[in-house]
Symmetry: none
Subunit: 418 residues, 2 copies
């Protein structure tokens, strides 16, 4: 069963408000195995709303309309629906009684604008009959039509409590819908597409989605089916195949961020970490500390932006800086050993590089980055070349550095550098 | 002049992703005096996209389409447009050359999916011809059609740089449109609205826009008129009045970020800065180093997440930590003096606090933050209570700390704390 969503409001077409109602409704419908084929947003204009409604009703099992219900002048969904579907407005006595009781209980007077809320298109069924929230449904030409208020809390409540259960009751659809997400780092979008090219042959019903999310790539795997076990089984097969094809580049199955994955691993293994950042300027520490409870494994670090700070805060030798430069394997190794010793942690992580747009040379162009990892036994380092803006170089450097921790703790090899 | 917006993506109709692209485009168009009459969202389905496009072109001076451009299989906007408008796909040599150079420069091979990006509907004009981003425009039946990538950064860039100016050039409206933006920190949205309540009486034609942008509030001042000098003059008057009403809370006139304002001031005065961060975990350093050339005034800092690191890296006395705790005026003062001495900078900036969601107590609830500033003459400190999520507390702390530097260098008093 498929349907459409219509959201009404000048605040939406003018870009003043983000349309969270259609997003919520679409998400709830999709998760229930129903398909949303389109979302239309129009302003508070009679003709536009009527057009959108008539159009959406074609080929739809359900249409959900939000906004334009209420007591103010620009709330005219009832009039528009009455007109568009040729159903006169009738006074709903139950609704009127309800408004009357509300008015009496607060000692205010019944006003025209309050009474207006009780006039509904003929044949309407009030949603949530005992509450003060407005909202009604209609059956027209075999389509279920729902009219909900634009206030998100009310809309969500009516959606979950009345609309969704009713649509599902009417839907003759494959009842089970499941979606998974894999997060990938270290492969470009075209590479991912290329590596998974033959996958669509494996299962015709499984739908793959690709979403670049710099510097990550996200892959969704969706399947609709008759029963949970068979859907889960088929998704398992496809997920395993993707993981086999992309290898350690898949860093999460689900919404987890890289810093959450790394944090989880550190916590699980009871290890502590300290960072020494040059070109990222604190970004790695910022990411790590976005995770609640990170203080149990992240001890802190140094942002060694100047040569002086690399020497005075981390003990990088002035000879190394003079001979090899701040952006070098030698420096990054001394940085990571330095921070690990100073904060007495299990692991030390260091980065140094040229984020740009200035500061590059022929030998060390913008985007040149060195990463270092000090452990109890060893000091590892590697060199990369990242592309893009200053911001993108910083982001890629931070991700790669965190990925080093992840791969080190899993025993995977690092993404090859230069 | 009016038009429509179409956003394409299964991630949108399934409710996986909030449609921020239509919101952004609608906001920018409206702020420029153009009217958006409808927004349509459809999945990656050929027929649906073609229908939406044909429908939107009727009665529209412009149509902006986002999504479905890229190298993967589900990116098929070009094919759909070619089909719907009966314009065959042609190889755009300039675009191909660009992709080829990109491929060669990175030592990767040209693939079918990359080449695909150079095949465009006949008569297309590539937007941003020198960049790697895709995006093109077409003129069909008198309507300007724009096809933009779904990646928000790219979409926004192309929208502002090419689409909006071109549409405005074609719009038969008052020829001069100017907009200014003021950025505000330290006042809530309702407070701003209240303080500027009488401003609309001052000038009927000037349009004010309010955009909360946590933790900032942005105000746009727009005016359309017949000639540049009179528009500029009227905007000047309104801008000055807003600045008078909101005082030092206006931190930028234009797109400048707080860290750019602070960086500009430090550079202008020839001063250097070092940071000692606890609860922000590196966020302040990250923000400061997002500004190109920040290495000339930002020397680096310490992320002192653990008590041990506050003692060993900054020299905070263990007695202070034991007696007053890590989140205290005494600790933040020792942190800021410590980092200033260690990096021999003109200014030292320190923050310590409880970002949450755990770790609060009755005396020091979540959101309690201390800020410290050490200068040649003095050590200043203050206490604040921020509300919201862990992420919001971190963001507000970093902004307030940077605002201290700004206000100190301008000679303004700080925003009062607890």
């Amino acid at each position: 069963m498929q349907g459409e969503i219509i959201t009404i409001g000048n605040e939406l077409v003018s870009g003043r408000t983000i349309d969270l109602n259609s997003w919520y409704a679409a998400g709830r419908l999709t998760a229930s195995g129903l398909k949303v084929t389109g979302i239309t947003t129009v302003g508070d204009e009679q003709e536009k709303v009527a057009q959108a409604l008539r159009r959406a009703m074609k080929n739809s099992g359900f249409v959900i309309v939000t906004g334009g219900l209420g007591s103010t002048e620009d709330d005219m969904t009832c009039e528009i629906v009455a007109d568009a579907l040729d159903r006169p407005l009738c006074l709903d006595k139950k609704m009127y009684g309800q408004i009357k009781r509300y008015v009496d209980s607060r000692g205010i007077e019944m006003s025209k604008s309050l009474e207006k809320m009780a006039w509904m298109p003929e044949g309407s069924k009030i949603l949530h009959p005992k509450g003060a929230m407005c909202g009604f449904s209609l059956m027209e030409e075999g389509a279920l039509l729902y009219f909900l208020p634009g206030i998100p809390d009310q809309m969500r409540y009516l959606m979950d409590r009345y609309v969704l259960p009713e649509i599902l009751m009417h839907a003759e659809t494959l009842p089970v819908f499941r979606q998974r997400m894999l997060k990938v780092y270290g492969l470009s979008e075209p590479s991912v597409a290329e590596m998974l090219r033959d996958l669509s042959k494996m299962s015709e019903k499984v739908v793959l989605g690709f979403y670049p999310h710099f510097p990550e790539n996200h892959i969704t795997i969706s399947l609709r089916g008759r029963d949970e076990p068979s859907v889960v089984k088929e998704l398992d097969v496809v997920e395993e195949e993707i993981k086999r094809l992309l290898g350690a580049c898949v860093f999460a199955s689900g919404p987890e961020s890289m810093e959450e994955v790394v944090g989880g691993l550190l916590r699980e293994k009871g290890l502590t970490l300290a960072t020494a950042e040059s070109c990222t300027g604190g970004l790695i520490g910022n990411l790590l500390t976005n995770v609640p409870g990170s203080s149990s494994y992240f001890m802190g670090g140094v942002v060694a932006y100047s040569n002086e700070s690399k020497a005075s805060l981390l003990g990088v030798s002035r000879q190394t800086l003079a001979r090899h430069g701040a952006v070098s394997d030698q420096t990054v190794c001394e940085m990571t050993v330095g921070i690990r010793e100073r904060l007495r942690t299990d692991l030390g992580l260091a980065v140094t590089g040229i984020a740009g747009p200035e500061g590059g040379t022929r030998a060390k162009p913008v985007g040149t980055v060195h990463i270092g990892l000090a452990t109890t036994d060893d000091t590892l380092s590697g060199k990369y070349r990242f592309w893009g803006t200053r911001h993108q170089v910083k982001l890629n450097t931070a991700m790669m550095a965190l990925d080093w921790i992840r791969r080190y703790l899993y025993g995977h090899s690092f993404i090859p550098g230069l």
